[in-house]
């Protein structure tokens, strides 16, 4: 079960990286970034799982799952959201200038 989660995360990570490298559309680049980010977060959240664990909310009995990864995930979500918002803002500005989001028709982004 947890292995499946790890495998999914790695596959999503690779799909994100592939999208960024291959696609020439700026929006797809941003989607790729979002995919990569979600994959890493999935790994972190899964790593806190303990078989048979209960939610770590104050009055609990028995073994709770590790709450630390969830705190990391929240921090990383905020960071990722600001990165992606900034990327989209840049793309909107560039679209106003070029009227396209096709990387091949945007001049300076090479070499």
């Amino acid at each position: 079960m947890i292995l499946l989660s790890y495998a999914t995360a790695i596959i999503i990570f690779c799909i994100g990286l592939y999208t960024i490298m291959v696609r020439r559309n700026l929006f797809k680049t941003v989607l790729g970034l979002a995919l990569m980010e979600s994959a890493v977060l999935l790994i972190i959240v899964s790593s806190g799982y303990i078989p048979g664990g209960v939610p770590p909310i104050a009055p609990f009995s028995g073994q709770a799952v590790n709450p630390l990864p969830h705190a990391f995930t929240l921090t990383a979500i905020v960071i990722g959201a600001s990165d992606i918002a900034l990327a989209l803002a840049f793309i909107v500005k560039l679209h106003r200038h070029y009227r396209t989001v096709d990387l091949d028709r945007i001049r300076g982004l090479r070499g």
Partner: protein
């Protein structure tokens, strides 16, 4: 306490600047300078504390295995001194050019300053990632600050590659946490020695790849020339002089603490990347016509030198790398500020258009000549000394190939810096055809910028000569010793 202040004061300034703007509608340059001085002196105080008595402060009093520890030792102090000098100079240039006007610029600047100090002082891997992202977001915005299409494209490119790098760092951090259950770097240094070999390989691959993308070494350098050449002069100087050094520090810290005793392949990979950067950066710089782009590619090559020093995995190599990082900050900031001012005067950044400057701005050209002689590596100057130390330590580490690469790179860099200087000195067509270029635009006075650039050029000479003194060598070798002495670091943080 001083360690916390070095992070808090710049962040507080960044937070207050928008409020001052809302209340007063204008920001005075005086207020910004006071905030800048306060932040920089806090950083220098932290550097002083770290240098003379290595300090640990535990946030909220939690033990290192649960809470976040800030650690100031000699390596952090050296880099804190570097960033303080560099960001102080960039702030002075920006104040001279913009005055107190663009409050967004200064808010981002202080955010950058605070997060840089955070990276240099933190002793926690996840905290390092968080500060790294604050630092990167501020840097993306500063690159795109002028909102011209080049700047926006450069900012977007920097953002995409920087985020990929950050996600690899986060993945490495996640793997580390899964394998060991702690995130404190000192405790990790002990825990990583006992985890399976395959896990360690995955962790080191993710962390080193992510940090290499962030430093802008050759195979993944695409963002660097665009970002460094499209930004405004003060920002270019800051990016090339200071921001790259912070990434270098992160790479150095993580690799030395985690992989020195466990995974030697990492250092081989760093040496190979460094050698490729030296050759690739210099060869690409040779082909550039835009002066700021040329300087940016030269930065790629200089990062290569520093990486070769780090890749020696010895105290001597680390000391040489820190020395070169320091020298490169002085030289490249000076070169960027000079080139930026001269090309603004002439209204072009093409090297072939920057002619006749020897007549109109002789002192600027003289300073440029000294700084480029230093960066090429003419013997009495600091660039030569640090390259020489890097060559010695890399030869001492067992291979001569990096040393040969450095020698070849020096020849190439001499070729392109001489090309710029010969353009500066040549008489130029503008003045002979009866249209002196200085008539349409009044030459602006840039006394603060000139004072900074001049003192950097002087420092290049002084540091080159001082490298012979035993006291100075003692200082730098103690930095190198601190960098590679993992046991002392662990002892400092855990209190054992």
């Amino acid at each position: 306490m001083t360690l916390v202040l070095a992070i808090m004061l710049p962040l507080l300034s960044a937070f207050l600047i928008p409020f001052f703007h809302l209340a007063r509608k204008t920001l005075s340059a005086g207020l910004i300078s006071i905030m800048g001085l306060a932040s920089i002196s806090a950083a220098l105080a932290a550097a002083y504390t770290g240098w003379y008595s290595p300090a640990v402060s535990l946030m909220g009093g939690w033990a290192p295995d649960i809470g976040i520890a800030l650690v100031g030792d000699r390596l952090s102090s050296a880099f804190l001194l570097l960033t303080s000098i560099g960001s102080g100079a960039a702030l002075a240039c920006a104040l001279e050019k913009f005055g107190g006007g663009p409050w967004r610029f200064y808010a981002l600047f202080f955010l950058l300053l605070g997060s840089m100090n955070g990276i240099l002082l933190t002793g926690d891997l996840f905290n390092l990632f968080v500060f790294y992202e604050i630092f990167s977001v501020a840097a993306y915005l500063l690159v795109a600050f002028s909102m011209s299409w080049q700047a926006l494209e450069a900012g977007l490119k920097y953002l995409v590659l920087g985020t990929i790098g950050a996600l690899f760092i986060l993945l490495g951090t996640a793997f580390t946490f899964m394998a060991t259950g702690v995130l404190n770097m000192a405790l990790l240094a002990e825990a990583l020695a006992s985890i399976p070999r395959e896990t360690l390989t995955a962790i080191s691959a993710c962390l080193v790849l992510g940090l290499t993308i962030k430093t802008g070494a050759f195979p993944v350098h695409f963002w660097l020339p665009d970002a460094h050449s499209s930004a405004q002069t003060a920002v270019s100087a800051l990016l090339s002089g200071v921001l790259i050094k912070v990434s270098i520090y992160a790479l150095m810290r993580v690799c030395y603490i985690f992989f020195l005793g466990t995974n030697g392949t990492v250092f081989l990979a760093i040496t190979v990347t460094g050698s490729l950067s030296v050759l690739g950066g210099h060869l690409m710089a040779l082909r550039q016509d835009d002066i700021k782009r040329l300087l940016a590619y030269s930065t790629v090559a200089q990062i290569g030198y520093i990486l070769i020093g780090i890749g020696c995995a010895s105290a001597a190599g680390a000391a040489a790398a820190v020395f070169h990082a320091f020298n490169h900050m002085l030289m490249k900031m000076g070169l960027f500020i000079t080139a930026g001012n001269l090309s603004e005067e002439k209204g072009t950044r093409e090297i072939c258009g920057l002619t006749g400057l020897w007549k109109s701005h002789p002192v600027w050209v003289a300073v440029f000549a000294v700084l480029s002689a230093a960066i090429v590596g003419i013997p009495p100057l600091n660039g030569f000394m640090s390259k020489w130390f890097i060559i010695l330590s890399s030869a001492g580490a067992g291979t001569v190939i990096p040393a040969l690469v450095i020698a070849a790179g020096t020849v190439i860099s001499a070729a392109y810096y001489l090309r710029i200087l010969s353009a500066f000195i040549s008489p130029g067509e503008g003045s002979s055809s009866g249209l002196p270029p200085s008539v349409p635009r009044k030459p602006r006075r840039r006394s603060i910028s000139f004072a900074i650039v001049g003192s950097f050029a002087l420092l290049c000479l002084v540091l080159g000569v001082m490298a012979f003194s035993p006291f100075f060598r003692e200082c730098f070798s103690s930095i190198g010793q601190t960098a590679v002495d993992v046991e002392a670091y662990v002892g400092l943080v855990t209190g054992r």
